[in-house]
């Protein structure tokens, strides 16, 4: 009888433990790429990718820990089991798909060609022999220049980070910088009157979230159903409206005010509505 009681107790504890302990996944992101992910003045991690991850975690019943990781190290870390999800504006490429598994594309991003304001350069003049173009190493911008434009006589200069490329552009050492459209817009906003977007190149680039090859933990279906739910309720479009357009400082203020709705009340839709309402002029 006593043994039965103990067994029952253990069974109850186990069941309780299983119900209470949600799976926890480590999300890796290089958090210095506004507006997809960046660190606010007060040190909070925010951005489109990260809020989408938080919302999906709530909808699908898992916990996440967001860990700032150098972009180049995210895929190696996932392969080594040091993280579960890569959410850092990853372009889906065949090369990467050999070593990790991607979610459905969640974002279409083309490449912007940024030049010094008043330089009078258009795409035709930029892509001509003798021109020097900059891009961040390992990004689609640099691959695009390498594959499409270097054969036409353009020289590619690679930089560790995007802001360094912009600095060299301002210094006059290069003629243009190629980078994803949204961070480019952010740069133009910050260097008002000094740089401008000369052209947008349709590279057909798509972003995906990534997990270990073959998705051994079964995370991708959760991500996909979470994204679908966000889209169905309209929260997805509201998050896009909030993150792509307003100045970073304004987004940070709105985020700080609204984030309890997401993290405490666990309501992604009302959270997204709050963000957009706060950002209305």
């Amino acid at each position: 009888m006593k043994n039965v009681g103990v067994a029952l107790l253990i069974a109850v504890l186990l069941a309780g433990g299983v119900a209470a302990a949600q799976p926890k996944y480590v999300v890796l992101s290089d958090i210095a790429w506004a507006p997809f992910e960046w660190v606010s003045e007060k040190g909070a991690y925010l951005g489109f990718d990260l809020d989408v991850m938080r919302a999906i975690a709530i909808l699908e019943g898992f916990e996440i820990e967001i860990r700032d990781t150098p972009f180049d190290s995210i895929i190696p870390a996932i392969i080594a089991g040091r993280g579960d999800i890569g959410a850092s504006g990853f372009t889906i490429t065949d090369e990467r798909a050999l070593v990790v598994s991607f979610s459905e594309a969640y974002w279409n991003s083309n490449q912007a060609v940024v030049v010094r304001a008043g330089s009078g350069l258009d795409l035709e003049k930029i892509v001509s022999p003798g021109r020097i173009l900059g891009a961040q190493r390992g990004t689609t911008g640099s691959f695009w220049i390498e594959d499409e434009w270097v054969p036409l006589g353009v020289t590619l200069v690679e930089y560790e980070t995007y802001p360094e490329a912009i600095l060299d552009l301002l210094a006059g050492r290069i003629d243009a910088v190629v980078q994803d459209v949204d961070p480019s817009k952010m740069a133009v906003l910050q260097y008002k009157g000094q740089i401008e977007i000369a052209a947008i190149v349709d590279t057909g680039e798509q972003f995906g979230f990534l997990v270990a090859k073959g998705d051994p933990k079964g995370i991708l279906p959760k991500i996909e159903s979470g994204v679908a739910e966000l889209k169905r309720t309209g929260a997805w479009d509201l998050l896009i409206e909030a993150y792509f357009g307003p100045a970073l400082g304004a987004i940070e203020a709105a985020w700080e005010k609204c984030i309890p709705i997401l993290l405490v009340e666990r309501d992604p839709l009302r959270y997204a509505q709050c963000l957009v309402a706060e950002l209305k002029p």
């Binding site: 790429w33 606010s40 190290s73 870390a77 802001p163 912009i166």
Partner: protein, 225 residues
């Protein structure tokens, strides 16, 4: 870069200071690990039995020969393959600390070998055992002699701590990139500020080592006043 950029930097200084605190923690961890392992390695190389001496030599050869960033990756990603999931901070202290121990071992080895052999003979003649002679006679002098070379290693590893971002330790360079990501225009002033912080730290550290050198000096031993 204009003057207004410098006033814009002011509110970010606390963030950078928080970052450099992590570098200082890394430094303290790695340099004490390097000191402990380095002294032992040097002693083994100089006084240990042949095979152990070879092992110590191989150890310093490895840690002096492999680039720091590779060591960081080996410790952070490599250890987890063997089921030891070390944190990024701990992996950085281990990788940079063991690397530093190899360099420090060479500093101490040179100092140990510079103590005239007559001292060992004299100590033994006075009835001290070999181990005691090393511990009480040779090593205290050798450590004093090492300080000048050691200050070099200190200055060098202090700056190496910025490499820890490579495996995700959020130190001062990472804090700088956070600020830069939201204020492109501050790129140069931010890095100049970081440079100044390191200059101050190097200065303070070397002054402290210089003071220690003076305090610990045995008159007549180092051949200068």
């Amino acid at each position: 870069m204009n003057l207004s950029a410098w006033t814009e930097i002011a509110p970010h200084i606390p963030v950078l200071l928080r970052g450099i605190l992590v570098n200082i923690e890394l430094l303290l961890g790695l340099i004490s690990l390097g000191l402990g392992v380095g002294v032992v390695t040097a002693l083994v190389e100089v006084y240990g039995p042949r095979p152990l001496g070879w092992a110590a030599g191989a150890y310093t050869w490895f840690f002096r020969g492999v680039p720091e960033i590779v060591l960081l990756f080996l410790f952070y990603f490599g250890l987890s393959q063997f089921g030891v999931p070390v944190s990024a901070f701990f992996a950085a202290v281990l990788a940079l600390g063991l690397r530093s121990s190899a360099y420090q071992a060479q500093i101490f080895r040179g100092a140990l070998q510079s103590i005239p052999h007559g001292q060992m003979m004299a100590a033994r003649a006075l009835g001290l055992g070999r181990v005691k002679a090393i511990a009480y006679v040779i090593l205290p002098q050798a450590l004093r002699l090492s300080l000048a070379g050691w200050s070099n290693e200190f200055s060098s590893v202090l700056k190496d701590t910025t490499l820890a971002w490579g495996i995700g330790v959020v130190e001062v360079m990472r804090q700088a990139s956070y600020i830069r990501a939201r204020n492109f225009t501050l790129t140069l002033p931010i890095y100049i500020t970081v440079a100044l912080m390191f200059l101050v730290l190097t200065y303070v550290g070397n002054v402290a080592i210089g003071l220690a050198e003076r305090r610990l000096r045995v008159p007549g031993l180092e051949g200068r006043r």
